[in-house]
C-alpha cells in the first residue's frame, strides 16, 4: 500500500503524460464498478494490459470504486432495472437478446446495466477532471508542497526512502 501511494505521488510529480494518468483513473473506475460475472470486465482488463495507462493509479482507483460499487449497489440495480424494463427501450433489448455475444455480456442483468450506464456517464467527466487536477497540481501545488515543513520531515521518513528508491 505504501509502495502504491509512493508510486502514485511519484507519477503525480513526474513528467508522465496526464492523459495516461486520467485514462488509468477511468479504467480503474470502470473495473471497480463492473460486476465480476460480465464478459465486459474481461474486455476491460485486456484493454488495460494493452493500453498504456498508469497501473498504480488504476489499482488505487479500482479499489476505491469497488467500495463505491458496494455502497452504490442498490442504486445501480434500481437504475439498471428501470432501464431494462422501460417500455421505450424494449425493442433495443429484445434485439440485443437475440445475439449470443450480448447475452455473454450479461447486459440483461440490472447491476451490469446500471454499472455500465454509470461508467459511460462518469468516463469523460472523470477523465477531464483528473487530467485538469494533475496539470493544476503540477503547476500550482507541487512547488508549494515541497517547501512545507511537514514535507521536510517526511523526506527523512521510510516513506520518502521508498519514494526515492522508486525514482532511482
Amino acid at each position: 500500500m505504501l509502495t502504491i501511494l509512493a508510486k502514485l505521488l511519484q507519477f503525480l510529480n513526474s513528467n508522465q503524460n496526464p492523459n495516461q494518468l486520467a485514462l488509468a483513473a477511468c479504467f480503474g473506475l470502470a473495473i471497480g464498478l463492473m460486476p465480476g460475472f460480465s464478459v465486459l470486465l474481461i474486455l476491460l482488463l485486456m484493454m488495460v494490459c494493452v493500453i498504456k495507462a498508469n497501473l498504480s493509479l488504476l489499482v488505487f482507483i479500482w479499489g476505491l470504486f469497488e467500495a463505491v460499487a458496494y455502497v452504490a449497489d442498490p442504486a445501480l440495480h434500481q437504475l439498471g432495472y428501470a432501464l431494462l424494463t422501460a417500455e421505450a427501450l424494449q425493442p433495443i433489448w429484445i434485439s440485443l437478446a437475440q445475439s449470443n455475444f450480448w447475452t455473454l455480456t450479461a447486459f440483461n442483468n440490472s447491476l451490469v446495466m446500471g454499472s455500465t450506464v454509470a461508467i459511460i456517464a462518469l468516463w469523460l467527466p472523470v477523465y477531464f477532471l483528473i487530467r485538469v487536477l494533475i496539470v493544476k497540481y503540477r503547476q500550482q501545488i507541487q512547488g508549494t508542497f515541497k517547501q512545507l515543513k511537514i514535507t521536510q520531515l517526511l523526506k527523512g521518513s521510510k516513506f520518502f526512502h521508498t519514494y526515492q528508491r522508486l525514482g532511482n
Binding site: 494490459c49 432495472y81 429484445i94 455475444f101 447475452t103
Partner: protein
C-alpha cells in the same frame, strides 16, 4: 500509437490467453463436474475433457453419474461423448450439437469410489418389485358336493315337499269324503226309515210307505253313486301318487344336470392365454408406465426450472443484480443433440443386449427444439439374431409416445411367464407397435414362439396331468395381443393357439371329471330323497289303506238297497 499501446502488455495478454487455453480443459472438467453434480443432486465425474478448436468439438471421456441411492454404483456411465458444438451457444449455457457421439453407455456399473454427496437427497424410492401373480385353472376346481347339494337349495327336495303336501291333502280329502259317506247317523237314519216302511199296514199306510221307500232308495242310490265316484277318484289319486313318485325318482338326475351346468365345462373354456401371458403383460406395462412417468416428471421439472428463471422477483443479493428475460425469436433448449450416434450395454438394467443406433433431437425442452425425439436402436446379443427398436417421443403438445419393435429369433431360457408357467426354452419372433397419447394406450403385438418347451407348476396342473402334458408337448405357440384402455388400467385381448389346445384337452378332462361328479351328486340327492320318501311311507300306507274302506263303502249301501 507508441504512446498508447503497451507492448509488454500485449505479450502479457497473449500469455494470459495461452494460460487460459491450456487451463481451459481442466477448468471445463471442473465446471462440468460441479454443475452436473448440483443439477442431478449426485456425484458427476469425468476422466478427461478435450477441446478440439479446429473442429469446434468437445470430447468427454469417462463420464460417470453416481446413483444417489447406491453411492458405490453408477446410474449411468459413458465411455466417450463427442459433441460438435457452437462455442458461443455453449458460453451462454446452451449445449447445442449438430452431431454427437455417445458411445459406451452402461447402466448400474460399480464405482471405484463412493459417489455419495453431502447434500444428496436420501429418498427411499424402493422399486416396486411386484412379482407376477399365479392363477387357478378356471373351472377345474369343482365345489364340494355337500356345499353344492343341500336340502334348502335342492330342487328334488322342493319337489318332494310338494309331493308330500299332495299326499297329505289327498289323504285328508278322502278321509273327509269317506267319513261323510259312512256317516253313522245317516245310516241309522236310513235304517230307521226302513223299519218305519216295513211297519206299514192298511192301504193308505202302504201307499205312503211306498212313497217313502222310493225316497229312501233315491237317497241310498245317491250315496252309492257317491261311493262309486269316491272309489274312482281314489284310484285316480293312487295313479297320481305313483306318477309323482316316479317323477321324483327322476329328479336327482335332472337336478345333477342343472347343478353341473352352473359349474361345468363352460367356465373351463375361457382363454388360457389370458392367464399365461396376462401377468407378464401387466408387469411389462407397469414398467412402461413407470418409464413414461419418469419422462413426464423430468419434462415438468425442466419447465418448472425455466419458469423460475422467468419469474425472478427484483430482490437481488448485493453484487448480483437481477436478470431480466427478453423474448427470443428462436429460443434454444439447454441441451439439444440434433443427430446422435449411440452405443452401449443394457445388461446393467437387466437386459443382456448391446445396443447401437442413432437418436435425433435429444433435448430437455422439445417445445423449444420443435422436433420430436426419436431413437432407432439395433440390439445385439448372443441370444438374438436381430432386434430393432424404434421409439418416438413427442411431448410438444400432448404426451405422445410410440414404440415399435421387431425381434427375430430371440432365445428365451427359463423365462417365467406367470406363477404357473415357465418357458424352459423357446425361439421368439415378435413384432409390435405400442402408442400412447396422454393416458390413452393402443397397440398390438404379434409373438411367435418356436421350439417351445413350456413348463407348468402348481397344484392345478398336478391334478390334471393331461393338461400339463398337452401344454408341454406343444412346440409352437402364437399370440396376438391387442392393447387398449389407459396406461393406468390397460386392457389386453390375447389370442393364442394355446386357447384351442387347452380347450380341447380341458374339455376331455372336464367331461370325465364331470361324469364322475354327476354320479356322486345324483347319488347324494337320491339318498336324500329316499330318506324323505321312507319317512312318508306310513302316510302313503294310510292313504292306500283307505282304499278298502272306500271300496267297502258301496257295499253297505247295496245291502240296504237289497233289503229295501
Amino acid at each position: 500509437m507508441k504512446d498508447i499501446i503497451r507492448w509488454p502488455g500485449i505479450v502479457f495478454a497473449l500469455l494470459l490467453v495461452c494460460l487460459v487455453y491450456f487451463l481451459l480443459e481442466p477448468l471445463l472438467k471442473l465446471v462440468i463436474e460441479q454443475t452436473g453434480s448440483q443439477t442431478l443432486s449426485t456425484k458427476v465425474t469425468l476422466d478427461s475433457v478435450q477441446i478440439d478448436w479446429s473442429e469446434q468439438s468437445l470430447i468427454l471421456e469417462g463420464l460417470e453419474v453416481a446413483d444417489k441411492d447406491q453411492p458405490m454404483t453408477n446410474l449411468v456411465e459413458v465411455d466417450h461423448l463427442a459433441l460438435q458444438i457452437d462455442a458461443l451457444d455453449a458460453l451462454t449455457g446452451h449445449l447445442i450439437s449438430e452431431q454427437a457421439n455417445i458411445l459406451g453407455i452402461q447402466f448400474n456399473t460399480p464405482r471405484a469410489e463412493s459417489g455419495e454427496q453431502d447434500s444428496a437427497d436420501k429418498s427411499n424410492d424402493s422399486e416396486d418389485t411386484e412379482s407376477s401373480p399365479g392363477f387357478d385353472l378356471p373351472g377345474l376346481g369343482l365345489p364340494d358336493i355337500d356345499t353344492l347339494v343341500s336340502k334348502e337349495n335342492s330342487l328334488t327336495y322342493k319337489r318332494y315337499k310338494k309331493f308330500r303336501q299332495y299326499l297329505d291333502d289327498t289323504k285328508a280329502d278322502y278321509k273327509t269324503r269317506l267319513a261323510a259317506l259312512k256317516d253313522k247317523q245317516k245310516i241309522a237314519d236310513y235304517k230307521a226309515r226302513f223299519k218305519e216302511i216295513k211297519k206299514a199296514k192298511g192301504f193308505m199306510e202302504i201307499l205312503s210307505a211306498a212313497s217313502k221307500a222310493k225316497d229312501l232308495k233315491k237317497d241310498i242310490d245317491k250315496d252309492i253313486s257317491e261311493a262309486s265316484q269316491l272309489n274312482r277318484d281314489f284310484k285316480q289319486a293312487q295313479k297320481e301318487i305313483k306318477r309323482r313318485i316316479a317323477e321324483l325318482k327322476k329328479s336327482p338326475q335332472q337336478e345333477a344336470d342343472q347343478l353341473l351346468k352352473k359349474v361345468g365345462i363352460e367356465n373351463g373354456t375361457q382363454k388360457i392365454s389370458q392367464f399365461i401371458f396376462g401377468p407378464e403383460m401387466k408387469a411389462q406395462m407397469k414398467k412402461f408406465k413407470n418409464w413414461l412417468s419418469s419422462i413426464n416428471d423430468s419434462d415438468t421439472n425442466t419447465n418448472e426450472n425455466t419458469d423460475n428463471v422467468n419469474t425472478k422477483t427484483p430482490t437481488p443479493e448485493r453484487g448480483k443484480g437481477v436478470f431480466v428475460q427478453f423474448a427470443q425469436a428462436n429460443p434454444l433448449p439447454l441441451v439439444w443433440f440434433k443427430n446422435t450416434e449411440l452405443s452401449g450395454d443394457l445388461s446393467g438394467i437387466g437386459h443382456d443386449f448391446l445396443f447401437k443406433g442413432s437418436a435425433s433431437h435429444l433435448t430437455d425442452q422439445q417445445t423449444l427444439s420443435g422436433q420430436p425425439t426419436s431413437l432407432d436402436l439395433n440390439l445385439k446379443s448372443d441370444l438374438v439374431k436381430n432386434a430393432q427398436v424404434n421409439i418416438v417421443v413427442d411431448i410438444r403438445t400432448d404426451q405422445k409416445l410410440s414404440l415399435s419393435f421387431d425381434v427375430k429369433q430371440y432365445r428365451l431360457d427359463k423365462t417365467p411367464l406367470s406363477g404357473n408357467f415357465t418357458i424352459d426354452s423357446a425361439l421368439l419372433d415378435t413384432q409390435g407397435n405400442i402408442s400412447t397419447i396422454n393416458d390413452q394406450l393402443a397397440g398390438n403385438i404379434n409373438a411367435e414362439l418356436n421350439s417351445v418347451s413350456l413348463k407348468t407348476s402348481g397344484d392345478s396342473f398336478k391334478k390334471y396331468p393331461a393338461i400339463e402334458q398337452a401344454l408341454t408337448d406343444e412346440d409352437h405357440v402364437t399370440a396376438k395381443i391387442e392393447l387398449d384402455g389407459t396406461i393406468e388400467a390397460p386392457q389386453f385381448d390375447i389370442n393364442s393357439n394355446l386357447d384351442s389346445i387347452f380347450d380341447t384337452v380341458l374339455k376331455k378332462v372336464v367331461d370325465a371329471q364331470l361324469a364322475k361328479y354327476k354320479d356322486q351328486v345324483t347319488e347324494k340327492i337320491e339318498t336324500m330323497l329316499q330318506q324323505e320318501l321312507n319317512s312318508s311311507e306310513s302316510s302313503q300306507s294310510d292313504l292306500i289303506g283307505m282304499g278298502d274302506d272306500i271300496a267297502g263303502s258301496k257295499d253297505i249301501f247295496k245291502d240296504l238297497i237289497g233289503k229295501l
